[in-house]
């Protein structure tokens, strides 16, 4: 119970947009109940703001003390955002090089050579596979986050986006590599700028990487969060399968980060080298979201078909009933 200041100075017309905005930080059902209570008790503007703000602050404080949030951030959100940022930067770099090569330096004379078309096709296929894999990993990461309890879901999602953007902006993967090299006493020599003509272009230096992050990471991750949250409605066995699939997929993502091999012991590195073809096939497993989404779409189609058939059956039965009456 609180003794609040009697603040009637702010008119409801001015304060209600603030109240609505503040209530956006609450859960959907709670927002509904709180706004209804405020309307019913005809609360003054300032007091309505103080009430909603008080509840929002209490909820946030309670969340900060929730161990599940810290576990989710430490073991899923932080490592996954770092890995996705590293892969997105590599993909954006590759994409920028290929785009610059083909779009900014297009030469019609080259189209006469079959070799040009061969290389173009190979490049396009490789980039498409890399992009698809990145989108699938992002979707898997989102799917895993979407399966968090509701209280933890929203802050985890927001932190995921903020960490991704911050890592991208601060070039965290490159800095982390430098730090790792420093720790292991490796010489820190600046790498020669191989792609200077490309990075000189503002589009490829600034906009292109952010486009890659938005289209291949953030958008699929949000779609994955939605699907992950819906998947909680499935049966127990299915839920276990759907928790395992993104976890394996994200473990495979770990093997794709540049410099990962340096973290392994020599024997395992040798084993990987001997079985490098198997290692190349491994990333294909990350494409499980494609199978999942296909199954979901097919399931919905079947449901609609059954519903339609049932409606037709009811109509037929009704028609027969009317005929027999006549």
């Amino acid at each position: 119970m609180d003794n609040e200041p009697a603040d009637h100075s702010m008119s409801p017309r001015k304060s209600w947009p603030v109240v609505f905005w503040l209530s956006g930080f609450l859960g959907e059902a709670e927002r509904e109940a709180v706004l209804g209570d405020l309307i019913e008790s005809a609360e003054s503007g300032g007091r309505a703001i103080a009430n909603v703000l008080g509840l929002v602050v209490r909820r946030r404080m309670a969340l900060l003390l929730d161990l599940r949030l810290w576990l989710a951030l430490a073991f899923v959100v932080l490592p996954v955002s770092y890995l996705l940022c590293a892969i997105a930067q590599t993909t954006a770099g590759e994409g920028a090089v290929y785009s610059w090569m083909y779009l900014n330096n297009w030469d019609w004379a080259l189209t006469r050579y079959p070799g040009f078309w061969y290389v173009l096709r190979e490049t396009a296929v490789n980039f498409a596979i890399t992009s698809l894999a990145l989108a699938c990993w992002s979707w898997s990461a989102g799917f895993l986050i979407g399966r968090f309890p509701n209280a933890v879901l929203q802050p985890s999602r927001n932190t995921f986006v903020v960490l991704l953007a911050a890592s991208f902006l601060g070039d965290v993967p490159a800095r982390f590599t430098q730090f790792w090299m420093y720790l292991h006493g490796l010489p820190l020599r600046p790498l020669p700028e191989m792609n200077a003509p490309i990075t000189a272009n503002v589009f490829y230096r600034v906009f292109f990487p952010w486009l890659v992050l938005a289209i291949l990471v953030i958008w699929p991750a949000f779609a994955g969060i939605r699907q992950g949250n819906r998947s909680l409605l499935f049966g127990r066995k299915m839920r276990v399968v759907l928790a395992t699939a993104p976890t394996i997929s994200l473990l495979i993502l770990l093997t794709q980060v540049p410099g990962f091999g340096l973290l392994l012991c020599a024997a395992f590195r040798e084993w990987l080298w001997r079985n490098r073809y198997a290692a190349q096939v491994l990333p294909l497993l990350c494409c499980w979201p494609m199978c999942y989404l296909t199954a979901i779409i097919f399931g919905r189609y079947q449901q609609r078909k059954t519903a339609k058939a049932n409606v037709n059956l009811v109509k037929e039965v009704k028609g027969e009933h009317q005929c027999s009456k006549l």
Binding site: M1, D2, N3, E4, A29, E30, E32, A33, V34, L35, G36, D37, L38, I39, E40, S41, A50, N51, V52, G54, L55, V56, V57, R58, R59, A62
Partner: protein, 108 residues
């Protein structure tokens, strides 16, 4: 044992019966104590009571007087009734002989 504010919520919810929800409980507490009751305190305590199994809450139908918004309806459970009863008995026992119950002047 429950706290004082928890007892106030349980008592007002029990008194209001089927009409127990956020705004009505708040109004009851304010009238009984003569002090303001914040929505933040009310809803977080309701959550705590629900987690302990002393109340059951659910969302009702939207109503016109609430701008088409739903109520969070509250019902005291059997465990809640027992806890509130225990609290009341403890308060009654401890208050026996105190100056404010016997109308004796307070001594220092």
């Amino acid at each position: 044992m429950i706290g004082e504010f928890e007892y106030l919520i349980l008592s007002s919810a029990a008194r209001l019966g089927t009409h127990a929800y956020g705004a009505s409980i708040r109004s009851e507490i304010e009238q009984a104590t003569g002090r303001r009751c914040s929505i933040g305190a009310l809803y977080t305590t309701l959550d705590r009571l629900e987690a302990k199994g002393f109340v059951k809450t659910w969302m009702g139908e939207p109503t016109r007087e609430r701008g088409g918004r739903s109520k969070r309806l509250v019902q005291v459970t059997a465990t809640g009734v027992k806890e509130a009863g225990d609290f009341f008995r403890a308060i009654s026992r401890i208050s026996k002989g105190a100056s404010w119950t016997t109308n004796r002047p307070t001594t220092r």
